[in-house]
């Protein structure tokens, strides 16, 4: 066999770099490269390119996988309505960078959104830093808390179970809302990360989720059956969306 006499093709050079070359042509390619500096330079540049790609992107594979990509969560059969709403709000994030407000129903004016989210973020900032008195009624009195808030607010207030997100109910309080009383519930993780749920009557029936950020806090607003909800937390949108989705899911399941 005189493989060495067959000219090396460009395809063979690529196959050589990518370890796809049949073993019997390897020596021929190496001899060719020794005699053809231009081709040798190309091969070197391809290897440099490969190193640069790995240097740039391998770190992504070492990052912790975000909660929204958890296989357990994704393989739960989703409620169709919710998936649409969440997909739409994620799309709104992607397109508008957080301010792309896709409004379903013309009745949801930006001022409803702004009033609600403003009030909720103020309450969030005010109370999440409280060590001794973050709430009026403690989470250990869940039944009493729900009953009291329901009576004062005028709609069925339920404190969702957010254990799936590692969140435990700290408790709640009654606050003035944009157009009447508001319920304010606080949750906490074992590491002290706090989320709050602010709810009050809204002058709109139903909207999709919208995002707002202020300082080190992020908030997701939506309205459903005449009640507006704002879930506030840190600025990690994935985490916030995960928590808001749990809240939404449980309210919907309860038929609120």
């Amino acid at each position: 066999m005189t493989d060495h006499n067959i000219p090396v093709t460009e395809d063979e050079l690529h196959a050589y770099v990518d370890n796809e070359l049949p073993a019997e042509r390897r020596l021929a390619v190496e001899a060719w490269l020794a005699a053809h500096p231009d081709d040798a330079a190309r091969v070197t540049s391809w290897r440099t390119m490969s190193d640069a790609l790995h240097a740039k992107y391998d770190a992504v594979a070492d990052e912790p996988v975000p909660p929204r990509l958890s296989v357990d969560q994704l393989s739960r059969p989703p409620r169709r309505w919710m998936v649409g709403a969440i997909a739409a709000s994620l799309l709104a994030f992607a397109v508008g960078g957080g301010v792309g407000w896709a409004v379903r129903g013309a009745s949801a004016t930006p001022s409803v959104f702004a009033n609600f989210t403003g009030d909720a973020l103020e309450a969030h900032k005010l109370y999440v830093v409280e060590v001794r008195h973050p709430v009026e009624v403690a989470g250990s009195e869940r039944a009493h808390l729900q009953q009291w808030l329901t009576k004062r607010c005028g709609w069925q207030v339920r404190a969702p179970e957010l254990g799936d997100s590692g969140l435990k109910l700290v408790g709640g309080r009654l606050l003035p809302g944009p157009t009447g009383p508001a319920s304010f519930l606080m949750y906490e993780t074992a590491s002290g990360e706090r989320f709050t749920i602010f709810a009050s009557r809204a002058e709109t029936e139903t909207t999709q989720m919208r995002y707002a950020a202020s300082g080190g806090n992020g908030a997701l607003f939506w309205a459903d059956r005449g009640v507006g909800y704002v879930v506030s937390g840190g600025t990690d949108r994935d985490r916030l969306t995960q928590v808001a989705r749990l809240v939404y899911d449980q309210n919907e399941k309860a038929g609120l």
Binding site: E10, D11, H14, A15, D18, E20, R42, S45, W46, M49, S50, A52, L53, H54, A55, K56, Y57, D58, A59, V60, A61, D62, E63, V65, P66, R68, L69, V71, L74, S75, L90, F93, A94, V95, D238
Partner: protein, 163 residues
């Protein structure tokens, strides 16, 4: 759904995220792609008739990205143009160069380059993923490499030549 299948899918998530990040060059879009890929894969276990799970997942992601770009092409959205600098670790000039060079590649060429070089797939697998003959994969790879090389090596001398 079998736990084995689920677990196998799960172990692929880091590599899928890496490929998606390089393909879309935007953290949020990349993870949206991975999420959609996982949802589809998990719902279609029955459609997966053995074979290489890895290649199957890359196929789903590659197709989703193609569809996404097609629907973007119908809308006047310019989101593709902003280069996410907070991307991965690349703060050195080389990292910026490589992602900028990737951005200028045609979609199919970029996918071939990333699948072969970054993800280490065989030419045969990539041909199956893109639904084309191996010869087409090789010509896409050759064009991608020539283009990236021209972008990276062509830009620097041009800057030095300024008088």
């Amino acid at each position: 759904m079998s736990n084995d299948f689920r677990h196998s899918v799960e172990t692929m998530i880091p590599a899928l995220r890496r490929y998606a990040r390089a393909l879309a060059r935007d953290t949020d879009i990349a993870d949206d792609l991975v999420q959609d890929t996982l949802v589809r894969a998990l719902r279609s276990e029955k459609l997966f008739l053995g074979g290489d799970l890895r290649a199957w997942l890359y196929t789903i992601l590659t197709n989703l990205n193609r569809n996404r770009r097609r629907s973007l092409a119908r809308q006047p959205t310019m989101m593709e143009l902003h280069d996410t600098t907070a991307d991965a670790s690349g703060t050195e000039a080389e990292g910026r160069d490589i992602s900028r060079a990737l951005a200028t590649l045609a979609e199919d060429q970029r996918a071939v380059l990333l699948l072969v070089v970054l993800e280490g797939l065989s030419y045969r697998d990539v041909a199956d993923i893109q639904g084309v003959p191996i010869g087409t994969v090789m010509s896409r790879l050759a064009r991608a490499r020539a283009h990236v090389r021209a972008v990276i090596e062509g830009e620097r001398p041009a800057l030095r030549r300024v008088k």
